[in-house]
Amino acid sequence: MTSPMVEARGVRKSYGGVEVLKGVDLTVVRGEVTCLIGPSGSGKSTLLRCINHLEKHDAGELRVEGHLIGYEARDGKLYELNDKQICSERSQIGMVFQRFNLFQHLTVLENITIGQTKVKGVGSDAAVAKARELLARVGLVAKEKNYPSQLSGGQQQRVAIARALAMEPKLMLFDEPTSALDPELVGEVLDVMKDLALSGMTMIVVTHEMNFAREVANTVYFLDQGVIEESGDPKVILSAPASQRLKSFLSKVL
């Protein structure tokens, strides 16, 4: 199958009359890393949330693996999916948040097993084994019994990545995963993400880390005021931006 992992065509979204996304086009190729950059309030989070169906877009087409998100095409008609079907679609797309959002009442291990056992119906032994394997991958084996409040920000974010990976997603969305971290903790999270990229995971990363974008991304999209202003190979557009807006944005973040 050659359909891209994510394909957006003219996606629009308004909040109470204010248009936040004004016709966004974007293509994410399977196995590639796409970075989404842009000033605060430009609609980056909103776009990610639409892809995950945490928000419903108002117009345009949004496809994941060729399927329209939230709908099922049958007999030449589009049927809106029910809650349960949407949940099952969502469980195949991992999301990592700026503020980690680990379940505060659960231990690190339980944070990673709960989705497997309660959503995917995996047995608890298998879930624990998988959780330990993922904790090893993000370098936090020793912390499995700790509660999130007992971890540093960087450690919490790595657990959050493990929690998302436990669902065996086909696509990972990162919404400014390092923006809430102390500078010295940013590196450990980016390292885990680079690792994940190397393993072939399809990723959409909203970030202000231009070095990460340059190094890891296959494509960079610059979103400004709800439209994609510029996109392309990071080595090209981050070094020699064509638009004045990207030029001035880069001069502010670098």
Binding site: N52, L54, D83, K84, C87, S88, R90, S91, Q92, I93, G94, M95, F97, R99, F100, N101, L102, F103, Q104, H105, L106, T107, I114, G115, K118, V119, K120, Y147, P148, S149, Q150, A160, R163, A164, M167
Partner: protein
Amino acid sequence: MTSNGDATLKVVPVRHRGRWVGVGAALLFIAMLVHTLFSRVPNGQGSCHPGKGVATCWRFAWNDVGQYFTTSEILHGLLITLELTPLAMIIGIVLGVILAVMRLSPNRLLSSTAWSYTWFFRGTPVFVQLYFWLYIALLYPSFSIGLPFLHYVPFTHVAFWHFDSNSLFTPFKAAVVAFGLNEAAYMSEIARSGLIAVDEGQIEAATSIGMTRGQTLRLVILPQAMRVIIPPTGNEVISMLKTTSLASAIGVSELIGAATNIYTGNYKIMALLIVASLWYLIVTTILSVGQFYLERRFAKGALRTPPPTPIQRIRRDLRGIAAKFPTGHRKFAEVGQ
């Protein structure tokens, strides 16, 4: 080397003069209280009429208190109180949580229904509600469960279940229903504050791993809301324990009802009310200890280190006292421990 760094200097703690005055006043007050509680009055004065050959008796009739404290009628009353309280609280908590979830629903009909419920049951005296459920048999002599409104249409009335309300609402059952439904109104506000206190990011995270709304509520929101809900709920349980005494008005022989039954015969009113109150105090004390451990359990993850249990605290205090009376010279280095 400065004198600050000298490890053998003796530490003189700050003296708190005001605190000593306060301690003195409190001790004096406690002494007066104990004295009057255990004072005696001469035979023939006040309620002291034991008959010939007795010079004095306890002002607070302690011998009567002791005599009635464990009589079977009182113990039976205690048992009924201990049945009423949890039954009413279970109805109150379950219905309260449902009402709170309804109240927070984006559906206006659900949220205003929940709001109206709270408005009505909080706004009318529980005493009236108690009589209402007892006498509901007068308003509806019989109940049937079937298809609604069909009894207005001739020949279509079908009842699946039919019963007599006189037998449905015994005083005990009326009390359980009245206290439970009334409590739900208060519990819904407590539960709502707990649900609101959970960070929205938790809901997003749960949704993003594919949990349904029901799973999110059950597995993520409610367990975290518990931390906020439990302390005021403990209060409600303790308050309910004593509210159940109102049931004596409709003829339930719970603790106060039992005490009343006895003192209407022998006029030892104060002694029997003290007996009942002592039992309330004992149960309240046990409940408070239970609440402490329950709070500790649901604080999991919220605090980096959980608060010490009372036993741990006593041990720590004893260690502190022991450290104040060292065998040798007290060294600067010991003070910080």
